[in-house]
Every structure is written in structure tokens, then in C-alpha cells.
Symmetry: C2
Subunit: 345 residues, 2 copies
């Protein structure tokens, strides 16, 4: 394994291990991206997947928020849809609209035809980017890798684009159950390989994003989401794991039981409810409503302190309850970050 | 008050009173509309608001599902956005996109400038439609009236169109708190008047739709949604009330305490969880995942029976957990309805 500069700020890793900390670490989902003016400059010059595929650009974008707003962790700039790409499904990023897959999975035959590649082959550019980023970070903060959870990736591979309810993808799961499970298994197999490769390349923690889990009923979650998350948690090794299944509050206990180190929670749950559901052993991460970052500075401070008071200083990673919104003023994000850094509960 | 034909099927009203029933009543949110081929014919001929504003068309569309799929209640064909219209905000319905408000509420000044009219004046066409529909229904089933809950109506008046997260509307609540509360109060005042007029005109039950409640944290729900729902429940008289706050499972107990007769629940909650949260007194309504209507018939039957078994036959109204999807085959909806009608738990 490659040698990297020594880590100076290990707050995130200590919180993930459940150790006592002076104050909670903080990072923000989607911090490497759209809300930063310097990112928007790069966005004008390079297409989305050019940005994802160039190790130099990934490294630059990943490190931006560390220097500019001072988070305690870096999260790799990438996208959950690199998995469909590696499975042979083209993904286009359309301005103002989001992802679009010209070809989608429609049948058992389609699912059978998918060939699962080696992550070290098809996704080697991600591993190169991780290595470069670890060097360029120079040990300032740890680097988080990530992947989409299988159900969320299926949503895009079946529906072909973003959706308010992903009803087409959900209908597919019931109409073509065998195809859905085969597709989920292929995504899972590649995701396990992918996350293990990320860790080998230098990711110091990994997060699994089940962004659309909350669209599922508990019984569908138990059938189409949880078994695949379990497999991933069983087989990913070498770094602490965070699961963020947005909206799936009802599954928190089951997710804890997969053996992950931390559970991400959204703002539709109070910190107390989250802790009651999760039990006392696991670390929790979240759950500031991203729209609150538009509030006046005093109000951001008040809401941030209230959140930490309610979660408690230990076994806790301060974060938003979902990705930072693109038009948040950088100064407001700094108020959020600095309030946490100054917290001495 | 006008005399209407005698009611033959009172299952819904008995379930709302908590009385014992032979089997649960069933209706489907958005049943008067897009999934019916006969509705789509009218859609080609008349614009959306022509359909809403003509008592003859409203009556025809409202009664369609009673004749064609056999639900136990009719819900008025209308839209929650008639309230912004009555408050002086133009609403356009754009094909494939949904509602669009060219002018939105941006400031305290905008909120102050809104004049609350009499519902009997600006919305008289709705009352005419209710009267005509009651006559044309000929007592077959009861007629449900409805309105949007104030927070959900605010979402559209501030953001001006549909959204995945309504982050702009939510940000407005924190940036312009005074304006938000003034706007919510004006919507509330008109909504109370509107629902009371609907009941006087002949609505036999009314449902309040807080479709976007689930985007709020519990603390924001308590500030921007609940107090206004409470006012409405205190001041609406003469017919049983149903509150459907999609996604706001954490608020179910507080909603029960407003004194409503029934709580609508979505599918992200098991029937047992919903009953535990609601207590034993209130009637529950829901919660079939609309995407399940694409499953094979046998599977629709299985899932429907499981749902009723779990909710129990009494104090229960079978329904979907949100609106029926536009492309559901009519035969599949019939399987759902008939399974409930044949239920003898």
C-alpha cells in the first residue's frame, strides 16, 4: 500500500470509532461542488464526467472545501452513477435537468446481459484520484470515499433520470421481480469491489448513499434495499463505514445491525428520535436541514448549537441532513462550520 | 340548506365516526382524474381550470370513478391551487410540468398586499359544483370536499412551481419569518371559510392535504404547519375531517389532538406503526403504495389483504398512500377496489 502524509486532524475517525472527542467533527454532504464559486468556474470549462474522470480535477475539487470553509473531512468528488457507467449504461449529465440514461434496464434479458467488470479496471480513474488526493491533502483531514446503495442505483438504471417518486423504478421491482433482484445483485457485487478498491487506494472511511430509500415502504425496503446493503457491509473491509438511507427512519435499527460504524440521518427525525431508534452504540451523522443555511447568521448559530446539544458531543458527526444546496452563500456555510468548531458543550 | 337524494352507501361516514362496519370503505386519492381514459378525453377538450370551474365538468369527472371502478366515496374534482388564485395569484397548468405561478410571494410587502376574499364570492363555482354533484350522485356514495393545508399552499405561492424539496419555500420561512407567518395566516383564514362553505354546499366530509409536510423537520412543522392546521380544525364545522400530512409521521399524535376524525397515512409507515403513533380513538386512512398498482393482479390482492389485516376492519378507510399514478391500468385499480369490497376479515 502506498505511503501517504501523516493525518493531523483525526476527529472524524475518532468519532467513527466511538471515542471521546473535544468537539464533534463536521463535514457537509455535497461540500465538494456546486455551492463553491471556484467549482463553478471549473464547471464552465469541463463537462461533469471530465471533472469526475480527471484525477487532477477530482483532487482540486475535493480539497476546495477544506481550504475554503474548513471542514474536518474531505469527500471524494465523484458521482454514484459511475456504477451504471461501469456496468455498460451510458450516463449523460444534462444542465438544469440532471442525469439522463439513454438506455435503461427494462427486462430480465437486459439484467442478464449486464457484465460485472472489475472495479480496478473500469473505475481505475477513481482510485488514481484517491491516491492523488491523499497526497495533495497532505494529511490535513481524512478522505471519505463513497458509493450509491444498490436500490438507489437501480432507480436510475430503470427510470433513466431523476424523479420525485421513482414510481417507474418501484413498479419495475414488482412487475419484474426476478430482473430487479438480478440487477440489484450485479450492482452489489460491483459496489463491494469498488468500495474495497477505494479503501485500498486510500479512502479512510466510506459512505453508502441510499438517497431514495425513503420512497420505499418498510416491506419493500426489507426486500429490495436491506439485503444488498447487508452484503456490502459484510464484505467491505479496512475502513469505517457510514450508511445514509435518506427517509428510511423505520430501518435505522436494521441498518445499525449490519455492523456499520455510523448512520446518517435526515432532518425529518429529531436527534432524540434518531438516538432512540439507533441505540447507544453507533455513531450518528446529520441532520441540519439544508434550507436552514439560508437563515440569518444568528439563527444558523442557534439551530446548529441546538442540534449538537441534542445529539451530544460524542458518537456524533455534525453534517447536513442531505446535500448542501447549490445557491447557499459560502459565508453561511462557514457560520455553520465555525459554530461547530467553537462548540464546547 | 339544499335537499339532496338520500345516501345509500354510508360506509365512509360510519368509518369516520368510528362505528363498526361490515368491511372498510375504499376510495383513492386522485381517483377523479388522470388514470381514467374518459377523463383524458375531457383533458384534450378543456384546459385544467376550465375543467375545475365548470360545475358540469366537475360533476362528470367527480362521478366517473364511482361508476367505473366502484369506490365508496367521491372526492370533488378540483385543485388545492384554487386558493392562491382566490388570493390574487395567477396559476397556470403547464403540460408535462405542472403548476406555474408567474407572480410569487417574495417579501413582507407582498404578504401584506394580499386581500383575503370571501370564499362564497371568489370560489362560488366550487360550491355550485358541489351542489350539482350531490344531485347527480343521487345518493350513491358520499362526497368529500378538500383543501390544501397552509404550508403546502405556501410552498407553491413562494416557489411558484413544483419542486423535489421546496428548498426555496423553506428558506423563505426562515429568511422572511414574519412574511411567512402572515401569508400562512391569510391562507388559513380563507381555507377555513372555504371548507365551511364546501360543507354548507353539500360536502359530507372534508380532507386537508399537507402534501409537502414531510419536507419539514419536526420543529419547523410545529412552527409553520401545525398551528394553522389546528386553527382550521377548530373552526371547520358540520362534517367529519381527515388530515393527510404526507411524510409527517412524527406529527401524527399532534394531528390526532387537533380533533380531526381521521388521519391519512402514507406507505413509509407500517399500519402497526401508524396505529401506535395515532392511538386507538382516531380512524386511519391509507396506505397502499401507489406503485404497487403496477404489480400482477395476484400480488395486488395479496398486498391489499395484508394491508387490511394489519390496519383492522374498523376505524379504517382503505386508500392509497398518495395519489393514484396517471398510467395505472384501470383493471389494476379495480382489483384493488374489489379486493377490499370482498374483504370479510
Amino acid at each position: 500500500m502506498e505511503q501517504f502524509p501523516e493525518l493531523k486532524n483525526d476527529l472524524l475517525l475518532r468519532a467513527l470509532k466511538g471515542e471521546q472527542v473535544e468537539r464533534p467533527p463536521v463535514w457537509m454532504m455535497r461540500q465538494a461542488g456546486r455551492f463553491l464559486p471556484d467549482y463553478r468556474v471549473l464547471k464552465e470549462k469541463y463537462s461533469f464526467f471530465e471533472r469526475c474522470q480527471s484525477p487532477e480535477l477530482v483532487s482540486e475539487i475535493t480539497i476546495m472545501p477544506i481550504d475554503q470553509v474548513g471542514t474536518d473531512a474531505a469527500i471524494l468528488f465523484s458521482d454514484i452513477l459511475v456504477i451504471p457507467q461501469a456496468l455498460g449504461y451510458e450516463v449523460q449529465m444534462i444542465a438544469q435537468k440532471g442525469p439522463f440514461l439513454p438506455k435503461t434496464v427494462k427486462s430480465l434479458k437486459d439484467a442478464k446481459n449486464i457484465i460485472v467488470p472489475d472495479a480496478s479496471d473500469k473505475l481505475s480513474y477513481v482510485m488514481e484520484a484517491i491516491k492523488l488526493t491523499r497526497h495533495n491533502l497532505n494529511g490535513k483531514v481524512p478522505l471519505i470515499g463513497f458509493a450509491g446503495a444498490p436500490f438507489t442505483v437501480l432507480c436510475y438504471m430503470v427510470q433513466g433520470q431523476g424523479s420525485k417518486d421513482f414510481s417507474q423504478a418501484k413498479a419495475f421491482c414488482h412487475q419484474e421481480k426476478e430482473a430487479a433482484h438480478l440487477l440489484l445483485q450485479k450492482i452489489t457485487t460491483l459496489t463491494i469491489d469498488y468500495l474495497n478498491e477505494q479503501i485500498k487506494a486510500g479512502a479512510q472511511a466510506v459512505q453508502l448513499f441510499d438517497s431514495w430509500a425513503g420512497l420505499l415502504s418498510p416491506q419493500d425496503f426489507n426486500e429490495f434495499a436491506l439485503p444488498y446493503i447487508k452484503q456490502i457491509m459484510e464484505k467491505v473491509e479496512g475502513a469505517p463505514t457510514i450508511i445514509f438511507a435518506k427517509g428510511a427512519w423505520y430501518a435505522i435499527k436494521d441498518l445499525v445491525d449490519t455492523g456499520c460504524n455510523a448512520i446518517g440521518v435526515d432532518w425529518v427525525l429529531t436527534p432524540k428520535q434518531a438516538r432512540n431508534l439507533a441505540g447507544s452504540d453507533v455513531t450518528l451523522q446529520g441532520n441540519f436541514d439544508p434550507s436552514w443555511l439560508f437563515a440569518p447568521h444568528k439563527e444558523i448559530e442557534r439551530l446548529t448549537i441546538k442540534m449538537i446539544d441534542e445529539f451530544g458531543k460524542d458518537k456524533y458527526i455534525a453534517n447536513l441532513g442531505h446535500g448542501i444546496l447549490p445557491n447557499v452563500p459560502v459565508e453561511n456555510a462557514k457560520t455553520f462550520i465555525n459554530t461547530i468548531k467553537n462548540y464546547r458543550g
